[in-house]
Structure formats: structure tokens, C-alpha cells
Symmetry: C2
Subunit: 172 residues, 2 copies
């Protein structure tokens, strides 16, 4: 489904949240909050409202903790959200060989123990080799750097999820 922004603006909040509620993983409250700001002039304006809400949260690590590990337990048990499943599959997380899988598990654990939130990356923009390389490198960062970097990645994921649901205004 691909709606234009006028159709999005016309949605009652229940449909708005049903359709757009997971543009930030497991955070329908964000979509539900920005509905108050309708009408949006463009998809970019809707995306900006979401980004502003995220930046105004009293604490930003909570969003990161709502994200699953890449190739982690939700992936293995089949309990990923549809969006996350498709993104992880597209970046090869379902096709790790046993050496890659154990390296991913070890680095994910190291990252979580160091920072208290999971490694978040916009998987659609990377392949599995690149993801493993970045995970390894980002384990070395400071916590504040990773907190900000994780939120940047959340916004990239949100951007791509929005684009899969709402038509970009061609006049912009």
C-alpha cells in the first residue's frame, strides 16, 4: 500500500496508528502522538514531526531498548515485527554461516553489556559483512556517542519505513 500525504492526513487516529505505528520499532506512542499535528504538508513534514518528538523525549535510550538484536533471539524464535524481519532478511541476517553467527552473538552481547542497549543499525543500508564490521568498531565508542548514533539509525530506519508506506510528494 502506498498512500499520498492527503490520504494520510484524512485517517482517523486508529487507522493512522495501525498503518504507521511501527515506523519506529515497537513505539506506536510516537506515531500516535504526532497525529495531533495533522495536517502534514508533505511526507517530509510528517517525518520531521516524528524526529522532533524523538528529540524531545526525556530519555532516549528507551527507544533503542525496544529494538531487537540483529540475528538475535527474536529472529530465531520468529517473533520479530514484520518490518524488522524483512529488513534483517534483506541484509543477510538469515544467511549467516556458523562462524558469522557466533561472532554476531558475541559482539551483540559485548555491545549490550557495555552500553545497556542493543546495537541499532539501518540494516537495509548494509550487507552482513559491513554490519559485522560496524558492530565491532562501534563497541569501542563512548556511551554518549553510541546513544546518539543509535538514534540516528532509528531515524534512518523510520525514513525508509515511511517511504514504503507513503508516497513522496513529487513536487518537492
Amino acid at each position: 500500500m502506498n498512500m499520498d500525504i492527503a490520504a494520510v492526513n484524512a485517517l482517523p487516529y486508529e487507522d493512522f496508528v495501525d498503518i504507521l505505528g511501527n515506523v519506529v520499532e515497537k513505539c506506536p506512542i510516537i506515531t500516535a502522538a504526532v497525529w495531533s499535528g495533522r495536517p502534514f504538508l508533505s511526507l517530509a513534514a510528517l517525518e520531521a514531526a516524528i524526529s522532533e518528538f524523538i528529540d524531545a523525549l526525556p530519555e532516549s535510550e528507551g527507544i533503542l531498548r525496544c529494538h531487537p538484536d540483529l540475528a538475535g533471539r527474536d529472529h530465531q524464535s520468529g517473533s520479530l515485527t514484520r518490518e524488522s524481519h524483512d529488513e534483517q532478511a534483506g541484509s543477510g541476517m538469515g544467511a549467516l554461516n556458523s562462524g558469522e553467527a557466533s561472532r554476531m552473538a558475541r559482539l551483540n552481547q559485548e555491545y549490550k553489556e557495555r552500553f545497556g542497549f542493543p546495537f541499532v543499525i539501518c540494516a537495509r543500508m548494509h550487507d552482513k559483512e559491513n554490519i559485522l564490521r560496524q558492530l565491532s568498531a562501534r563497541c569501542q565508542n563512548e556511551r554518549a556517542v553510541e546513544r546518539a548514533r543509535g538514534i540516528e539509525e532509528v531515524k534512518k530506519i523510520c525514513h525508509l519505513r515511511l517511504q514504503s508506506l507513503v508516497l513522496t510528494d513529487s513536487r518537492l
Copy 2:
């Protein structure tokens, strides 16, 4: 399951969110955010941290829009969260006669059209007659009054959900 606050404080964030993530309906981000504030001295301190996070949100209607209607479409389709299902069942929402069901549906719709968010009430504290009476009366309020009232009810629901999961400290 009923853990004491020391056991709660010892949980990794993934288990903390798995167990406590729905104390505010469909808002695991709230639970995930307050994990940063461990250790909590008591259940009351954990509840206060959640309440403070809610009050510090840049927009408060989003939380309300994450709640289902009482005896509404999620109830009928069986897609309620476990917590909401049990609460609605306990207050008799599964046992409305046809007159009550149509009155509930009509008043829910009137409320949503007037305010742009659903009627939220701590169902465990009321029976079906009382809920219908309050829904009818609250439809007459101002939007700002209902926004604040809805958030109060969210906190009452959270209080009871927390009590069903975490032991109250008997020394307090």
C-alpha cells in the same frame, strides 16, 4: 509471577522490558526508558519513575491513542493485549447485553470524535454500569480535562499492573 524489587533491579533490560513492558498499554518505550534509573528502592519508586516519564513527554495524547476501546474492535477480534483482555473481562465488558453493547459502541464513537483519543478508564475499579455512566458523563467534558483525566486513569491501570508483577515492599 511476583518478584521483589531487588529481583526487578537485577534484570537485564531485555527481561525487564519483556516482563514490565506493558504496564502502560502498548508503550514498552516507557518501561525501557526507566530501566536507566535502576536501582529502584521500592515498587513505589519504580512507579514514580514511570509517572515522571509520562509527565515529561512532549505530548500526552499519544499514550491514550495506544489504548483500545472498551468492548471495541480489538475486543471483538481477540487482538487485545493479555492485560487489557483480563481487565475488560473482569469488569463485564464480555457480558454486555445487546442494548449495553450498542450504547457502548455509540458513546465510544462520540467520545473519539469529540476528543481525538479513546475513553480510558481503569476497568478493574468499575463494573459495566459504572463504566457506561462515566463514559456518558465524560463525553461532556472539555478536551484538556479529558486529556488529564485519561492520563490519571493510565496511571491507575499501571499501578494495578505493577502490583500484579512486583511484590509491594512490606516495610514501607
